[in-house]
């Protein structure tokens, strides 16, 4: 069994209440940080731990904290990003539902480290039940003196509020989230300035994912060195993986970074293998935005070594043969799934969620969806494949925020790795309406490294 840091007590009855959480060692990190550590100590500890942002980008959390500007006379804000909307990702919902005090404890420690006196947890509006859970937990913590004025007699004041979103994937982008929290449309801001200089209400602001904030608790409790012992290379610690799709045991798993992908899919400790005795066709490893990989490329590197669940190993091979850990949304496709249909579905998602502010994303996402729809419903042309690749290329990198890239990568990668399935949808349009392309050669052993086309 891998070591668990966040979900260790998840099955303890009543762990969602302050009393039980506290009894199992909860809020020790607040006591330790506020009473025995300076704010710089806390930032330094998080830096040393190697913790990387768990929302998707993987930027070192401690580094992000150290960029925060500290001008005189201006408040600083910490905002927790609980706008979990990336298809394939549901770890934050799980964590908030079952162990809300872990997030609150992390928020107190992180707010202290950053010098924030008011902090917000921005939760996607659809998670109303989770908003109620958090509000109740905050009230409990406040009643016990862990929030409000003069926390634990240390002189540190902190108010913590929950803010609901309104149904917009784009608000997971940190500057769109800030706009939304200011009561505006969720249009990402043009950077610079970055939030660390001018964020919420034009004040220095840090935005962190739920899991990143929660991970601060074990880092403070056990020390950065202990945390950094877990994991592999620059992928330190543990990561929550949301596993879904055609597997036996979908759910949220806390893994030590570095577990082989094959073990993650087939071991009973995690996904338990494929459901219904089907074979593995493809995996989207880090949420819908990251490149989709066929079975052979997700399990092995082109060198023949096992691919591991880590930032580096999943990215090995770059766009030619790799993908990304992203938010840890691990979606598994069996041999009965149609890659064309799924790509259309994802393209529809990004089209629906584009904020419409900048032209390549506003127009390009809709264009890609329409072409993919035509392919899926038997009216496609062979030239559509190159068209899609070209449109994706013209969106990628040219937009205000990463949604453009997120929309382009799934389409470009699906065509890169499953081109013959797309071609079959054109050449056998009628047949494709009635049956799926199947597994084809997507699970075949990889050829020797040098023969893998770099396209």
């Amino acid at each position: 069994m891998g070591r668990k840091l966040l979900l260790e007590n998840i099955n303890v009855p009543g762990i969602n209440t302050f009393e039980v959480y506290r009894k199992h060692g909860g809020y020790r990190a607040v006591e330790k940080a506020l009473k025995t550590m300076s704010t710089e100590d806390v930032v330094e500890e998080v830096k040393k731990s190697g913790l990387r942002g768990r929302g998707g980008a993987g930027f070192p959390t401690g580094m992000k904290w150290s960029f925060l500007a500290k001008p005189e006379g201006k408040p600083r804000y910490l905002v927790c990003n609980a706008d979990e909307s990336e298809p394939g990702t549901f770890k934050d919902r799980y964590l908030i539902t079952h162990i809300p005090h872990l997030l609150i404890e992390g928020m107190i420690v992180a707010s202290y480290a950053l010098g924030a006196k008011t902090s917000y947890i921005y939760v996607r509006g659809e998670m109303m039940p989770q908003i109620r859970i958090l509000e109740r937990a905050i009230a409990e913590a406040k009643a016990e003196g862990f929030l409000g004025k003069n926390i634990l007699g240390t002189g540190y004041d902190l108010e913590l509020y929950v803010q609901p979103g309104g149904g917009a994937y784009i608000c997971g982008e940190e500057t769109a989230l800030i706009e939304s929290l200011e009561g505006k449309r969720g249009n990402p801001r043009i950077k610079p300035p970055f939030p660390a200089i001018s964020g919420l209400y034009n004040c220095p602001t840090v935005v962190n994912n739920v899991e990143s904030i929660a991970a601060v608790v074990p880092i403070i409790n056990d020390g950065a060195d202990e945390y950094a012992k877990l994991g592999i290379g620059r992928s330190t610690g543990t990561k929550l993986i949301s596993a879904s799709g055609n597997i036996k045991n979908p759910g949220v798993y806390e893994i030590e970074l570095g577990v082989p992908v094959e073990e993650f899919i087939y071991s009973d400790e995690y996904c338990g293998g494929m459901a219904n005795g089907k074979r593995l066709k493809a995996v989207v490893a880090g949420g819908s935005s990251v490149p989709i990989l066929p079975a052979n490329l997700i399990l092995k590197l082109t060198t023949g070594e096992n691919r591991l669940m880590s930032y580096e190993s999943l990215a090995e091979g770059a766009f030619a043969s790799g993908t990304m850990l992203g938010s840890g949304g691990f979606v598994v496709f069996d041999e009965d799934q149609c890659i064309v249909r799924n790509t259309w579905n994802f393209a529809r998602f990004y089209h629906h969620e584009s904020c419409g502010q900048c032209s390549p994303c506003r127009e390009g996402t809709g264009w890609m969806e329409k072409v993919l729809h035509r392919l899926e419903y038997g009216h496609g042309k062979l030239s559509d494949l190159d068209l899609l690749v070209d449109v994706a290329k013209k969106i990628e990198g040219n937009t205000i925020c990463p949604l453009g890239d997120a929309a382009a990568w799934p389409v470009a990668s699906a065509i890169r790795h499953f081109r013959d399935e797309f071609e079959w949808h054109v050449s056998h349009a009628e047949e494709a309406m009635g049956r799926n392309y199947g597994l084809a050669h997507y699970a075949d052993p990889l050829p020797k490294a040098e023969t893998v086309a770099a396209n």
Binding site: I190, P192, S354, C355, G356, S359, E363, G397, N398
Partner: protein
Amino acid sequence: MSERVKVTIDGISIEVDAGTTILNAARLIGGDIVPPAMCYYSKLEGSGGKCRTCLVKVSKGSDKDPRPMPKLIASCRTGVMDGMEVQNITSPEVMEARKGIVEMLLINHPLDCPICDQAGECKLQDLSYEHGSEATRYEFERRTFDKIDIGDKIQLHMTRCILCYRCVYVADQLTDQREHGILGRGDAAEISTYIEKAIDNDFSGNVIDVCPVGALTDKTFRFKNRVWFTKPVDAHCDCDKCSGKVTLWYKGEEVLRVTARKDVNGEVESFICNTCRFERKNTSEWTIEGPRKISHHSVISSNHYELLDPPAVIRKNPALKEANIEEFERVTRHY
């Protein structure tokens, strides 16, 4: 005195005040190296960054940190650094990206230039001549909207809109009650008033001048004439609401429309009030200054209106001649 920094754009160096954007530095250099801008408007705070037509490549960040920037960046919203090197028309990557942006802007545009009042002074038209392809690769139905009237003087034809947000900034920054804004999301977003409300405000007409396309047009000029058949003349009046400095657009002796004056970048020099724009269409209400200088690239200059200086209307009408006597004598001296 503010600090001066050196920036090099397409090989041409210039010293500018620290804090200047790349686009404005390029405008100081002038000529072909100026990136096109469909949404940025120097007089509107917060504008820019959205259309992406002004993307450029920063091949050297600064003397201090010479690393290139990893992505193309919006020149209208990026400040120059000392020693920065920028590529615009010398970068194939930039030209390719711009071509892509123009294509994106056009896929849902109706291309109804033959019946559009903006034709001849449309920024999107210019842009597509310079960077567009002859044929479209888009084979789907284009987005359409019903025309709506915003008050009795302005028409909004959302089908042509490229969502530059300029009109929203105008309404926000120039008028005291913004009635229209961006509704909806993504490619379903539209400029609208949600419930039809008259925009009743002294400066609302400026949304027409800032609109880079034919989405917001002057109803008092609608279908009256093609702009290249009209003759622009600078004029002013004593106005208690605005500077009173305008351009009158003549057809024969009739003033067909009144607009603000636009500078070399196509931006309004000073915003004008609705009274000047919509109500003062008699020459007698204006002091004529002379023909408006129009770039020889523009189709409007093709009828050599500058030879008609001063306008015929002044030559023939003794009262007008008297009112504009100084101007008249100055420009007719060489005849």
